[in-house]
Amino acid sequence: MSRSTFRASRWLGAGLAWLLVAPATVALIPEPAAAQGETVPLPITLPRPVFPGTPRDIPAGTSVERTDGRPRAIPQVPRGTVNLALNRKVTSSRAPFAFSLDLVTDGNKEARETTAVELRPGLQWVQIDLGAVATIHYVCVWHYHLEPVVVRDVIVQLSNDPTFLDGVTTIFNNDQDNSAGLGVGRDREYFETSEGRLIPARGVKARYVRLYSRGSTFKDPLNRYTEVEVFGQQSAP
């Protein structure tokens, strides 16, 4: 073997060895930050709309926000985000007036009379137990989208305390006159549509989700909840 042939075969061997070792080496290196924060579109599915757009006539006495009628942009969430509320246990401030609380998390958010639980008039709440502490990115609520009603005093809170006395984070509050006594809300009221109300939770860690309301502009004063979805990731045990 000539000197040059030997040199060439040595380089070839080194190259082959690198090709074999390199993937294994890459697998052993910790995942870079960018890959760790990889995001995907929020895995939300919307029910069928039963009325087009939003009404032109704004109900007086509300602070309802204006919308351009275009579909809502789907936000990005960390990979692995799922609806943690699906089929979870639901409790409420008072026994329902009609139908079952299970409807709140049964996954059926179509606009029909029978898909929404009805609670009595006045300030009421429903509460979802996620089963364990979770990192919550979004909460989406459909109160009642058979008509473009405006639900009054919508307040959404997260906590690890089932009584919501300690460690409460309010992620939405449009009770501007503080009639619920939970603080002056800075959010605006909105029309119920098939898109529901998507509320950012910014990664709050909590096990319980509580949603307040005080009737709506609908013809009767009842509180209605068709579906609540809580998008997040279960925290590691």
Partner: protein, 522 residues
């Protein structure tokens, strides 16, 4: 003599009835935008005794001079203390007292005919509804009736006093509203027709001297009022100039453009489901009967009365045609044509009953039916001015301000009480057009209120009231510092949103509903 007393007593009762149906709850309906601009214009007369005629807006000053003694008699000290009911009381009084002119026309209409006219004027829904508006129309109609009455008395007596009184009425009409030219045009047409019909039968008196004196009186009265009792001598020229903008408005604007049938349809039949049916067809029908009877020279009718009826028939047709032909229409303008119809309806009712045969109790039955329909007219008048006073199903309701305007005022004034500047707190009103009235009148107690029709450069105000069109821009500029606290209805389909500085809002909320136990699930 007894018949004269009976007539006077019946007329007095009708005047009392007209007042009774017009006065209740006079301040309940919020000020219409037009009423509020007149109340604002009234301020100059109230505070400085000054009146400047504006050739572009507001019409003449008789409305303000009518309100002046009323407000003083009610003991109001400051302009801001004068409320809606105080202003409207002036037009209610005029709208009631105009019935008395019918006493001067008892031989033109017949005593019973005059009483029927008085009854219809007292109970006509349009007359009742617009008598309760602080606008010129009721005054214009009252002075028109004054002109008819005094003119009629003059034709009967030939006395100079009646000619001068008629001239004064015409002068007051001129000083009330520019649309008087339409009434004068219809009057000229009616006079011409009756003149030609009568000329062959009757010698014409030498009336020219009286007519000239009446014209001079009209001129003096009109100039006296239009110049604000000679404080603004340019007013007569401005008044003539006013026909340019008003003429343009009559044809060029789409804002109040309505079809030719607007007034007739309003009088005959309105039904906006699920509301009640509104109709003054009784007056229109009786007026038709009266017109036909007068024109045919019904045998039961005295020749002078028939002549007056013919004059009124032509006047009514002419004024209705003129108002209908002009695209610019506002519903209160129906009062002048309706006045003509009422003056025909009185004799018309009598002629209708007289035309029926005496057998089978037909006449009592007809009288009962007319009485029942008149009572129903009164019921409509009551409902239109009370229960349906702001309801858009009521045909007389037009661009009416909603009760919510009082909510805006209450909110702003309550916020001012929590603000260090109190009533000097800055309020910015940003409207998409200039039709934000009556807001300035309702906010008259606030000292620092500004109005814009475009977004101002700075929004440094604790309270911003804005049209929804500015929502997006205001959200971008105020979201961090203010709270959009709700929409209020100014007029049907016209909303305003109220933005409040957040710390001020928190203080206001805290003051209104101090911390209390939260009652959930009850």
């Amino acid at each position: 003599m007894m018949r004269r007393f009976a007539f006077a007593g019946a007329l007095a009762l009708l005047v009392a009835g007209a007042l009774a149906i017009r006065v209740p709850n006079l301040g309940d309906r919020p000020f219409h935008g037009d009423e509020s601009v007149h109340a604002a214009k009234f301020r100059d007369i109230w505070e400085r005794g000054e009146y400047i005629y504006d050739p572009y807006e507001f019409h003449g000053p008789t409305l303000y001079y009518a309100a002046l003694p009323v407000a003083k008699a009610l003991g109001r000290e400051h302009w801001a203390d004068i409320g809606e009911a105080d202003y409207r009381l002036a037009t209610v009084i005029v709208g009631t007292l105009l019935l008395l002119f019918l006493a001067l026309m008892r031989d033109a209409l017949g005593r019973r005919g005059a009483l029927v006219c008085a009854l219809l004027l007292a109970l006509s829904p349009a007359f009742v509804y617009y008598s309760r508006h602080f606008i010129q129309e009721t005054l214009l109609v009252a002075f028109t009736l004054g002109l008819f009455a005094c003119g009629w008395r003059w034709t009967r007596s030939g006395r100079l006093g009646w000619a001068i009184a008629a001239g004064a009425s015409a002068g007051m009409m001129v000083a009330t509203k520019e649309t008087v030219v339409l009434t004068f045009a219809a009057l000229c047409i009616a006079l011409a027709v009756v003149w030609f019909r009568q000329r062959a039968k009757r010698a014409v008196r030498p009336w020219r001297g009286h007519a000239a004196l009446a014209a001079v009186t009209a001129l003096v009265v009109a100039v006296t009022f239009l110049t604000g009792f000679f404080s603004n001598l340019a007013a007569p020229v401005d008044y003539l100039r006013s026909y340019l903008p008003w003429g343009m408005r009559a044809h060029a604007t789409e804002l109040h453009a309505h079809p030719w049938s607007y007034y007739l349809a309003m009088l005959l039949w309105t039904h906006r489901a699920p509301g009640p049916v509104w109709s003054e067809a009784l007056i229109v029908g009786l007026a038709l009967a009266g017109g036909v009877a007068c024109w045919r020279g019904a045998s039961a009718m005295a020749p002078e009365r028939a002549a007056f009826g013919r004059f009124m028939a032509v006047f009514t047709i002419a004024i209705t045609a003129i108002y209908s032909a002009i695209p610019y229409k506002t519903p209160w303008c129906v009062l002048t044509p309706l006045l003509g119809m009422v003056l025909l309806a009185g004799p018309g009712a009598l002629a209708l009953v007289a035309a029926l045969p005496r057998r089978f109790l037909l006449r009592p039955v007809a009288v009962t039916i007319v009485a029942a329909l008149t009572a129903q007219l009164g019921w409509q008048a009551w409902r239109s001015s009370q229960q349906y006073a702001t309801d858009t199903r009521n045909p007389y309701v037009y661009a009416q301000t909603m009760a919510d305007v009082r909510g805006i005022v209450a909110r702003v004034e309550e916020l001012a009480r929590e603000h260090p500047d109190r009533m000097a707190m800055v309020v910015k009103v940003i409207s998409e057009d200039a039709y934000y009235w009556p807001l300035p009148w309702y906010l008259r107690r606030m000292h620092n209120v500004g109005y814009w029709t475009e977004m101002p450069e700075t929004l440094d105000a604790p309270v911003v009231i804005a049209s929804p069109r500015f929502d997006e821009a205001l959200t971008a500029r105020l979201e961090a510092t203010h709270l959009m606290t709700g929409f209020f209805v100014l007029r049907p389909h016209v909303l305003l949103q109220v933005w409040v500085d957040f710390p001020l809002w928190s203080r206001y909320v805290e003051k209104r509903s101090p911390r209390r136990p939260v009652r959930i699930g009850e």
